[in-house]
Amino acid sequence: MKRLTIALCALTLAGCVAMAKVETGDRAIGDRLAVKLDGAWNHLEAPGLGPAQTWTMEGLPIDQLLLYSGIKDGELVHAGGAGGKQKDFAFRSNMQAHEIVAMFEGMLTRDGSSFRLVKLEPSSFGGLKGFRFDYVLTRKVDNVVLSGVGYGGVSKGELFAILYMAPRLGFFARHAPRVERIVQSARVKE
């Protein structure tokens, strides 16, 4: 997160960061994931982001919604891998739900942040037999405690997932119902 924040500041100064409004209505995320929005979001676009789309309501680094669509076997779930000193985290198509959650945990704690799994349970997602997990992330850069929720599922060996996290005091509760409606609207094309 610290690196992301610094990178975003640098890129903003360089004019490389774009914030696009995501309008209400049906939206395609990649080729196979579709969601329906009942309110507008902000889509952050910058070099080095991905493979998830990064959306936010309040602006980074306050809250972020990560949307993963069609992550293939062996593909990293974060940017900036390969050759860095930090461990990389890649999706494997034979991963079980809690291994996928462990992968996201690894991704979210690459900067030394602390992750605690609160709950992991089966849940449908996008029409798939998937899972839901709740977590608490204590961000290393500023010690802010974030609440997080994630949904995921695997279809044809590809990962689809939505993660949302925001400071537990105020922001998470404010936007969690909206995120929940996005998740309920999600559909993965077979």
Partner: protein, 223 residues
């Protein structure tokens, strides 16, 4: 744990002390250790253990990311100097049993953090040493088994299975031992054993955060 030691080493190196200053610090450190009643020979052992873990990496520690190893080539020399200094002030105690007792409340959490580092070779080197020191401690066997299982090379699953079974045989093993055993069994298509191990995990840790997910695995395996 080596991660914390590595960070301390990194911090120390960041200040760019000269080698003479390092030698002087080691000399004073040995005196202080001895005066406090500790066996100063352990200072050299710390270096030996750390180096063994770093060298266990696939790159042999060449790209360890610890600048001290690049800018202070005399690590072996330093270890030998510490050992020689310790011989000049023999005696003292390592207090290993006291240390083990004091860290007991934190051990499982620290081992979990160690595994999260994803440096499986280092973890296996560390845990092999811990198992050698405390062969009846199931926590270390479980943790090494997990490191093998997560690394998943060649015969790692066999090694993982052996460690998990040894931990379970000792008794007092972490509940996660049975979840990990189940994962190995499932990977080997031993579904009845996988189901039984998942159930044993749920019995041992009914309030685990992933209990509902594991319950769904049990139901799938029962079909």
């Amino acid at each position: 744990m080596p991660g914390a030691v590595g960070q301390l080493v990194l911090l120390a190196s960041a200040f760019g002390y000269s080698r003479d200053q390092e030698r002087e610090a080691d000399r004073v450190g040995v005196i202080l250790m001895r005066n406090a009643g500790y066996d100063p020979a352990e200072a050299a052992n710390v270096w030996s253990n750390l180096l063994a873990e770093i060298k266990a990496r696939p790159d042999g520690g060449e790209e360890s990311g610890i600048p001290m190893f690049a800018t202070h080539p005399g690590v072996d020399e330093r270890r030998e100097t510490l050992a020689a200094l310790a011989k000049e002030a023999p005696g003292g105690a390592a207090n290993a049993d006291t240390w083990r007792e004091r860290i007991r409340p934190f051990r499982r959490e620290w081992l979990a953090e160690e595994l999260k580092r994803g440096q499986h070779e280092e973890s296996i080197a560390l845990l092999t040493r811990m198992i050698s020191d405390s062969p009846s401690q199931p926590d270390y066997l479980y943790a090494r088994g997990e490191a093998y299982r997560l690394r998943a090379k060649d015969k790692d699953l066999d090694a993982a299975l052996a460690d998990f079974q040894a931990a379970a045989t000792l008794g007092g093993e972490p509940p996660e031992t049975h979840r990990a055993l189940a994962m190995v069994y499932r990977q080997r298509s031993q579904f009845a054993e996988a189901r039984a191990s998942f159930q044993r995990y749920l019995e041992a840790a009914p309030a685990a955060p992933d209990s509902l997910m594991i319950q769904s695995y049990v139901e799938e395996l029962g079909k």
